[in-house]
């Protein structure tokens, strides 16, 4: 008991001048004070204890949170770096895919260039002979004949220029294919683009495999006119679909050498305010099990080393970027049709 209260209690108890009843009340009051004092002292002690512990706990918690914050920051930096590396790897892979498809074109392009070059060579040779003849006519005093020959040479040179420009265009096109897209849309003749890549792909495959043969059919809608697209990118898509179609029919031909005629059809159509570009093959179709995966990056059904697995994924992204859709209709055993749909305002 508090010593002062004890003194008080003793005084009350020992005091003879205080009535018993009053003593009882006084002692009761003192006991109540004692009780309240005990409670107050206890509360103070516990509050001090809890305050001290709470302060330590809070300090440690702050330090813990600070460490976690640092760890998160470091993780963030590492993740950023990883992201940059992944982006770089992705860009490299895309470039590889472009180069791979460019490689597919090489033989076709070589074939295409061969044709105008042949013209250039042939017309150049003929022109040389004509100029020799012209010299003779001038020497023999026949200027009128020489003039006629000169006109023939002019015509030949015009043809040389035409075919030279053709070759130039083919090379430019090839270079454009290997470069990154500028991102700028340009008015483009989609029918001509599709046709060019159809022939390039065909000749490319023929050059690689002399036994390859497939019928090509086309059906272009002249109503389409020029459409605003990124020609390198859309050309890449069309080339990819055509190459896949040729691959599909080739595979089927290997399975059924007799009685099967491979056919790839490229068509365009303007209908219901939408432009559809269809690449159809009569190959074996796409297995249901893989149908939902074919647009996924790195997915391929080709043997290892024969495909990057990026062609359809990139094609899908390019078409999407043009505000369009790329999807497939297929039937096992009968073939597939890949359909690019673009809004007519394109």
């Amino acid at each position: 008991m508090n010593p002062q209260l004890q003194i008080l209690m003793d005084f009350i108890q020992q005091n003879e001048h205080v009535a018993e009843e009053a003593k009882t009340d006084l002692l009761k009051a003192v006991k109540k004070v004692k009780n309240d004092l005990e409670i107050a002292e206890f509360k103070l002690e516990r509050t001090e204890k809890v305050k001290r512990t709470t302060a330590i706990l809070l300090e440690e918690t702050i330090e813990e949170l600070e460490q976690k914050r640092k760890a998160i920051e470091e993780t963030n930096i590492a993740l950023q770096q990883s992201l940059e590396e992944l982006k770089a790897a992705q860009a490299q892979l895309i470039q590889s895919e472009k180069m791979a498809s460019l490689g597919e074109l090489t033989a076709g392009i070589a074939h295409e260039i061969q044709n105008p070059l042949n013209f250039v060579n042939n017309f150049s040779e003929v022109s040389k002979e004509l100029l020799d003849e012209m010299k003779e006519e001038l020497d023999t005093g026949h200027p009128e004949v020489a003039k006629e020959i000169a006109n023939d040479v002019i015509q030949n040179l015009e043809k040389i220029l035409h075919h030279g420009k053709r070759a130039d265009g083919i090379v430019k096109g090839m270079l454009q294919h290997s470069r990154s897209s500028s991102g700028q849309k340009e008015p483009t003749d989609i029918n001509a683009l599709a046709d060019e890549y159809l022939r390039l792909a065909y000749h490319g495959l023929r050059a690689k495999d002399k036994s390859f043969n497939a019928a090509m059919k086309t059906d272009y809608d002249d109503q389409i006119g020029l459409i605003n697209i990124m020609p390198q990118d859309m050309g890449r898509v069309i080339l990819n679909l055509i190459t896949n179609a040729f691959y599909a029919v080739t595979q089927k031909k290997k399975q059924y050498p007799e009685g099967y005629e491979p056919v790839v059809t490229v068509s365009t159509q303007l209908l219901n305010n939408r432009i559809a570009i269809r690449v159809k093959d009569n190959g074996s179709g796409i297995d249901d099990k893989v149908l939902d995966k074919i647009f996924q990056p790195f997915f391929t059904t080709k043997p290892t080393g024969q495909g990057t697995g990026l062609g359809l994924s990139l094609s899908y992204d390019i078409v999407k970027a043009h505000g369009g859709e790329l999807h497939v209709e297929t039937k096992e055993g009968e073939g597939s049709t890949f359909i690019i749909q673009l809004p007519a305002g394109t």
Partner: protein
């Protein structure tokens, strides 16, 4: 039903008080006995056995009666409950596991009464608290009223025990199975400890032994986050020095957290031995002791119980965690006194090492740092 509560610091005092109770022709059938390990338990049991009174007994870490807290004494509540309305069951963990014993108790209750309630006391079974609740529920075959406490031993932490006529054991499980069709029983379980700090993970534990928290030795985490007390590292028992006030709160999805108090520290492997299981992977937080107004909160909840379910009581039994005594100290008298005044019925209880009761989630569970109040009234 008439209940009378008595206390004594010696067997002679207990005998005197007991005989005084019986002097008016009062014939109790059941004695709820809570006594310190220092008391002569055998003598108390002999006294009650001689009078044919069934015994529901547990040792304590402090006991209380009618609003007064005691230490090292015997408190007893005598009840003249009709013998057909209750049954005592005492089983020891040994040849059967605790959960099997608990199931058997549940089954006994089911076979004895159509609507049983279980008031239980367990010995030193701190890894089995959850099993006891689970076992009784399973044995009965559904959700059932369970209140009770784990016996104490004046913070010796060596061997609290439960006892009944002719039997006692530190590994005992004692059940007072009551017919709820005849005796109205209602209770609450309140805690009041509040979480503080960040959520941590118990990264290694086994049963009630926590080895690491966030991959750091558990004892070192306690020292770091709660500060080092004088003599802390020299003592094995830590509950009275520190952790009673700052238990771990085990978080669970969608339900209120449950407390787990560290009772011992192992200075060699730096582990904590808790008064209840903590599964590896559990999410825990430190807690701060309740504000002093938590006592008003407990009393208010009892008032609500009284107003809504149980306006009258013949007897009150209370199981209060020793941590509450260490945390609230002299204020415990206020809590107990006010609860007793609410129903104005005899009250007996003790400070325990674990409590059984229905939490706010509605589920019966094993708790730490909790106060369970049970009111009984014969219908």
């Amino acid at each position: 039903m008439q209940a009378k509560s008595i206390k004594g610091n010696t067997i002679e005092e207990v005998k005197t008080a007991f005989e005084q109770c019986l002097s008016n022709g009062y014939k109790p059938t059941l004695a709820i006995v809570f006594l310190s390990i220092k008391q002569d338990r055998e003598a108390v049991c002999t006294l009650l056995n001689k009078n044919g009174i069934a015994i529901f007994g547990a040792t304590t870490s402090g006991e209380f009666i009618n609003g007064e807290t005691e230490e090292g004494s015997t408190v007893m509540m005598l009840l003249d409950m009709h013998p057909d309305h209750f049954r005592l069951e005492f089983l020891v963990t040994g040849s059967q596991t605790t959960i099997e014993n608990a199931k058997q108790i549940g089954l006994t209750g089911k076979n004895t009464f159509s609507n049983p309630a279980f008031i239980i006391a367990s010995g030193w079974l701190s890894t089995d608290g959850e099993n006891i609740v689970e076992g009784i529920t399973e044995g009965f075959g559904g959700d059932v009223t369970i209140f009770g406490g784990m016996a104490g031993d004046d913070l010796a932490l060596t061997g609290p025990l439960v006892f009944t006529s002719g039997q006692s054991h530190t590994q005992g499980l004692l059940a007072l199975i009551i017919d709820e069709d005849k005796i109205q029983i209602n209770g609450i379980a309140t805690c009041g400890w509040k979480p503080i700090g960040t959520t941590k993970t118990v990264t290694k534990s086994e049963g009630n032994v926590v080895y690491t928290i966030d991959d750091k030795p558990a004892l070192d985490m306690i020292i770091k986050y709660l500060g080092v007390e004088d003599d802390f590292v020299s003592g094995k028992e830590i509950v009275s020095q520190l952790t009673a006030l700052y238990p771990l709160q085990m978080e669970r999805d969608g339900v209120a957290p449950v407390m787990r108090t560290a009772m011992f520290a192992n200075r060699v492997d730096r582990s904590l031995i808790c008064a209840g299981n903590i599964a590896q992977g559990s999410k825990v937080r430190f807690s701060l002791p309740p504000d002093f107004d938590a006592i008003e909160q407990v009393v208010e909840e009892c008032r609500q119980l009284k107003n809504e379910c149980q306006p009258e009581a013949d007897a009150l039994i209370m199981f209060s965690c020793i941590s509450r005594r260490l945390s609230f100290g002299v204020l415990m008298r206020e809590e107990i006194g006010q609860i007793q005044e609410l129903w104005d019925a005899p009250l007996a209880g003790y400070f325990s090492y674990g409590e059984f009761g229905r939490s706010k989630t509605g589920k019966h569970e094993f708790h730490n740092n909790t106060c369970c109040v049970v009111a009984l009234k014969e219908k």
